[in-house]
């Protein structure tokens, strides 16, 4: 398993380099000008100088090479400096956002907690809800519970968050006034009351996201349970005289979780990717919102860096899913 992991990690290096090149070229081809927001009264030659100051005057390969150098060498060195108080990266140029002129990674570090809190919580909540629903609807297939579950998951699948988000705002913020419609990022949790406020402002974005994720995972869980409930070893377990609880929760559930765990692992990168639309609806200034504003402002280093981080996470979690599969299913061995 270890050699397999090493081999996969080695293969992922050229993959990621290629991905970064593709992202870079795509952004290069995309129309748009970082100076588009500058007022028309500013003369063209001044704009040209500003572009050159951003490094746009250099040829393509130089800019790509520079980004690679900054992202793979200087940023890690800077991180080491921050952690251990060393001065490896002192005076070196980092990846700078064109919008704010501050290092991209600093902004990402500021935005990450919001996204992790909201989207991460939604994910945990969704899995906690989805697994029991999937198990029970499979165990009582075609029961009222199963039918209702199917109906609700269909709704969850088919209603986009820009609709469900606005809908819950209309109902719970405007009509009932239970929760705030805007997520306040500056809110500091330091006592019980402020914790309650934090919970309240998290409820709606978390639920809107969780509805979608629950729908997906509970369907996977149900299908996988149904698959395993019909297997011969389940009858063997019953013939052994095991309790029904043991049969379902030990024998069937453990075998059914194998594909579900993989699906869950593959969906994790989307946590970091943030839920772009949901973050917009509730004004959570997380990673998704950061990406959208960067695209709107033609902030190429920011878009390039964020997209590449997502690519790294996707490659990494694919690997993690494969390894988990090998750990959970003794029939699968990679070496």
């Amino acid at each position: 398993m270890l050699t397999y992991t090493y081999r996969r990690l080695l293969i992922s290096i050229p993959t990621l380099l290629f991905i970064s090149l593709v992202i870079f070229l795509l952004l290069e081809l995309a129309p748009g000008d970082p100076m588009a927001q500058v007022p028309l009264t500013v003369p063209d030659e001044v704009k040209q100088k500003m572009r050159e100051a951003l490094g746009l005057g250099e040829p393509l390969h130089v800019r790509f090479g520079l980004w690679l150098w900054q992202f793979f060498v200087i940023e890690p060195l800077h991180l080491i400096d921050n952690l251990f108080g060393t001065t490896f990266a002192e005076g070196q140029q980092r990846v700078i956002s064109w919008q704010t002129r501050s290092p991209v990674m600093d902004i990402v570090a500021q935005r990450m907690p919001q996204t992790l809190w909201v989207v991460g919580t939604a994910y945990v909540v969704a899995v906690l809800i989805a697994v029991p629903i999937g198990v029970y609807s499979a165990y009582r297939q075609y029961s009222l519970f199963d039918q209702a579950g199917t109906f609700i998951t269909m709704i969850g699948f088919s209603i986009p968050p820009f609709f469900s988000g606005v809908l819950v705002i209309v109902i719970f913020s405007i009509q009932l006034g239970w929760f705030p419609s805007i997520y306040d990022t500056t809110h500091v949790v330091n006592d019980w009351d402020s914790f309650v406020v934090q919970l309240k402002q998290m409820v709606m974005p978390v639920m809107v996201l969780a509805l979608q994720i629950t729908s997906q995972i509970s369907r996977y869980m149900r299908a996988s349970m149904l698959d395993n409930l019909g297997q011969d070893y389940v009858r063997t377990a019953r013939a052994k005289g095991m309790r029904e609880k043991t049969v379902v929760l030990v024998h069937v559930l453990r075998n059914s979780l194998i594909p579900v765990v993989t699906v869950v692992a593959l969906l994790v990168p989307s946590i970091f990717g943030g839920a772009i639309i949901t973050e917009q609806v509730f004004k959570v200034n997380g990673i998704g919102q950061l990406l959208i504003t960067a695209i709107q402002a033609n902030d190429l280093p920011m878009v390039q860096t964020l997209t590449f981080i997502f690519a790294v996470l996707i490659v990494l979690f694919n690997l993690i899913a494969d390894i988990l599969y090998g750990i959970l299913d003794p029939r699968i061995r990679y070496d």
């Binding site: 009858r235 013939a239 052994k240 005289g241 095991m242 959970l328």
Partner: protein
């Protein structure tokens, strides 16, 4: 060997067992009929004997075996194992009775949990039904592995790492873990190749001698049943058509279906094999959802009579220990003991085609 009745204790008594599976159709999944997988089956298994249950695929053998252990909820009928009624027993009391009755399954690969080790599979029922310590449990697992001829070193391996024959040994060890008295062997050798089949059957016989087990041996392999069974029951379309001690069943089959079935068994002697005449019955098995009126076999029976299409023949004892459900036989036995005559001429009267 129990050739007659009454001398031995009956261990398993099945009376009027019916196992119907509902057929649903339409938007509202309304019940529109039943698949009569097992339809009014009665038999008795005596302590220490092996009852063979044979029949073609889909005739309800496996369903019958599973219903006897109540792995299905039977539609009707009574099943008594060692005097205890299990067809209507509550879930917990049934679970408490599980140790006495076990099953060896057909597909040794699919019937073992792929995520459990051999020790886990064999040891799990011990956790549930006994209070052994860890050490005693391990000792018992090793003992069982020795009994079925598995190397103790394999205890921590997973089922997929074994060959088919070894997996079936795991399945047998698991069934033996709780010292059962009665084991249903549901085609335990069907998924194995011939050399391994013999090993597994010998193992089953050896265990029977040593532990005094009682088997219900379900198989479509007539020669293997002849080898292992003391008495044999023949099933067709959910019903037992004939039940008799091994030698008399194989020697002089009474029911036309049994005769046809046995004519398909190849002979080891090439001289005899060359002259073996196969009775080839035409047509297909009717659907168990819609069995014919009268006798289930009337659509294909070479000796069919008018009464067969009207009245379902009763399952009757025609001689001590011999039960047949056929108008031909029961009529003959009623009319002044001409059974022997009809039996002797029976095989030649029917339309016979030469086998390959």
């Amino acid at each position: 060997m129990p050739d007659g009745t009454g001398t031995l204790n009956p261990l398993v008594e099945v009376r009027g067992l019916k196992m119907y599976f509902p057929i649903t159709a339409g938007v509202f999944r309304k019940k529109v009929g039943d698949v009569k997988a097992v339809d009014d089956v009665s038999f008795t298994i005596y302590e220490g004997e092996t009852l063979g249950l044979v029949g073609e695929s889909g005739c309800g053998k496996s369903t019958c075996g599973r219903a006897v252990l109540r792995l299905y909820e039977p539609t009707a009928g009574s099943i008594r194992i060692a005097g205890t009624e299990i067809a209507t027993a509550g879930f917990d009391s049934l679970r408490a009775m599980r140790p006495a009755m076990q099953m060896v399954f057909q597909d040794p690969q699919a019937s073992l949990n792929p995520r459990m080790t051999v020790a886990g599979i064999i040891g799990e029922p011990l956790d549930e039904h006994t209070t052994l310590t860890r050490k005693e449990k391990l000792a018992r697992i090793y003992e069982l592995m020795d009994q079925v001829g598995l190397n103790r070193d394999f205890a921590n391996r997973y089922p997929h790492e074994f060959s088919g024959g070894q997996r079936q040994r795991i399945g047998i060890a698991r069934a033996l873990a709780l010292n059962p008295r009665f084991i249903v062997c549901d085609e335990p050798i069907a998924a194995l190749d011939v050399s391994i089949q013999a090993q597994v059957v010998n193992l089953l016989e050896e265990l029977q001698d040593r532990l005094g087990l009682t088997y219900l041996f379900i198989s479509h392999d007539l020669s293997m049943v002849r080898h292992i069974a003391d008495r044999v029951a023949v099933m067709y379309l959910g019903k037992i058509v004939e039940l008799a001690p091994r030698e008399s069943l194989y020697g002089s089959p009474q029911h036309p279906y049994t005769q046809a079935l046995l004519s398909a068994v190849p002979e080891p002697d090439p001289m005899v094999e060359a002259t073996r005449r196969r009775i080839i019955i035409g047509g297909d098995v009717p659907s168990p959802a819609n069995p014919p009126k009268g006798c289930n076999f009337c659509t294909r029976c070479p000796k069919v009579m008018d009464i067969c299409r009207e009245i379902d023949p009763e399952f009757r004892e025609i001689a001590p220990g011999r039960h047949v459900a056929c108008h031909l036989v029961t009529q003959a036995s009623q009319t002044a003991g001409q059974a022997a005559a009809s039996e002797a001429s029976g095989t030649t009267e029917i339309r016979i085609q030469q086998g390959e």
